[in-house]
Subunit: 290 residues, 2 copies
């Protein structure tokens, strides 16, 4: 018999920005039978309960996941990997286990070690903020966002369908990908921008040591280009360490691109430099126009 | 006798984003005696006139600047340099000539060639948008923005005072700098971010050639980090070509920073990588908090 989201008890483990925002959508939209939240800190669990972000809250992983139809892990990536081993034996047969981590290779490998009666599927909503934590959570965060799903070979069609129902229910747009392909693509559009932003802040800091006025002049160009450098370091450490090869490959491509731009500028090759800048100008201006 | 802004006929040459926004502030705030706009295209001149962005509009530089007390050049940098030579002999003695260009070295050198009875001063409001042109102009653009002024040795105190009055009148915050110092600082916080953004778009494009899904996954991190790549290419060509040495030096510093991050990631040196990312996280999060 096919499960519907409206029949499901959903447990979200990790009540940071991503997990708590999902809970809020589920509760406010009455999208499922019950929403349970598991937080590391008692304060967060209490805040989530008393602001009606969840129906029930606990700091105890074991009682939190007991009897759940859907368990969603929304902690930093390496905590998800560790937690999968712990949580597996506690779950009912047929339980759907999804995660919200930003890399999928290591997580899906750990998911494949779950007992055979568990139904795992990787998940990654492509949205976020520089501010982390429960305080930053908000309903509607996933509206219009791309939400990648990475099924395993063992993932049943029913599990994929129920996952798609969840993604659609919060207004997101599902994209189904193989885990390693996901990791390669997000290395380019998410992990590389983070490292670039960090390198930019460090570079401005080098000038700022001698001449702090540089920080007063910094305006929109610096603000936007460096914004993701303010993201949660712990989250990004896990992301980078679980996607090293793909990130290093993107860094090398970027290095080539920057050196090409540098050479054109150094040689005063205006025609080629203009052509290259015009190409990226057009690509960026046309992105998401259709 | 000291001139006040309210007594002045102001001519703005170039009715793009920067020039037209300034005209709108001057006209709507009744900040000066008259605002004349000089546009390259008749269409722009007519639009500016019929939307009351200016009191008078023309496509003729010579009649546009005739009799002005203040002339503000708001075209791309190299056009400003060329125009300074043309405009010098047309101006009344004592006319204040300012510009709004993004680099100051070449412009201030050209300003120093103006006839001795002209009063030049460099200017650079630190604000903008990715969209260029008269259509993007808006009143209030300069509110709260830093506006750099670069006086020449020949610039009188009266000229500096009148320039400060203008900057304050549109709600901007003046910072007085020597031209070469300005150019070094903006290379770090404006020209470098532009090249980084362009290199990022090209890098994603490299992945996108094989797997266009990458563009669908791109979200906030890519959006912000790449935003300035959509800026006007012509404007940035002039900026880069008139600030090559400073930009190349910043590119080299960035290159070092990126290689350091790359090495830490490749070697799995988590402690050092975390320390470095935490430092940029803090710097970026604290920027402009005070």
């Amino acid at each position: 018999m096919t499960k519907r989201l409206s029949d499901c008890r959903v447990t979200v483990v990790g009540l940071g920005l991503m997990g708590a925002s999902l809970c809020m959508d589920l509760v406010q939209g009455k999208l499922c039978r019950e929403v349970r939240g598991v937080a590391r800190r008692a304060e967060t669990a209490l805040s989530a309960f008393f602001t009606n972000a969840v129906d029930q809250a606990t700091t105890d992983l074991h009682s939190g996941v007991a009897g759940a139809d859907i368990v969603i892990l929304a902690t930093p990536v390496r905590t998800i990997v560790d937690m999968l081993a712990e949580v597996g034996p506690l779950l009912w047969p047929g339980t759907l286990v999804m995660d919200m981590g930003s890399t999928k290779g290591d997580i899906c490998a750990a998911m494949d070690e779950l007992p055979h009666h568990i139904q795992p599927i990787g998940g990654h909503p492509m949205t976020g903020k520089e501010t982390a934590g429960f305080e930053s959570a908000e309903p509607g965060l996933y509206k219009g966002a791309t939400w990648v799903l990475t099924p395993l070979p063992r993932t049943s069609q029913e599990t994929i369908d129920l996952s798609l129902e969840l993604v659609h229910a919060v207004g997101a747009k599902p994209v189904v990908l193989e885990p390693r392909r996901h990791d390669k693509l997000v290395a380019a559009i998410s992990h590389l921008p983070f490292l670039l932003a960090s390198a930019l802040v460090h570079t401005v800091d080098c000038t700022g040591v001698d001449d702090p006025t540089v920080w007063r002049l910094a305006a929109g160009g610096f603000r936007d280009t460096s914004r993701v450098a303010a993201s949660d370091t712990r989250m990004f450490m896990d992301i980078l360490m679980t996607n090293r090869e793909a990130v290093l490959a993107q860094l090398d491509t970027l290095d080539n691109q920057l050196h090409e731009l540098r050479a054109l500028l150094a040689n005063g090759d205006e025609a080629e430099l203009r052509a290259k800048l015009t190409h990226s100008q057009k690509l960026r201006a046309e992105w998401k126009k259709d």
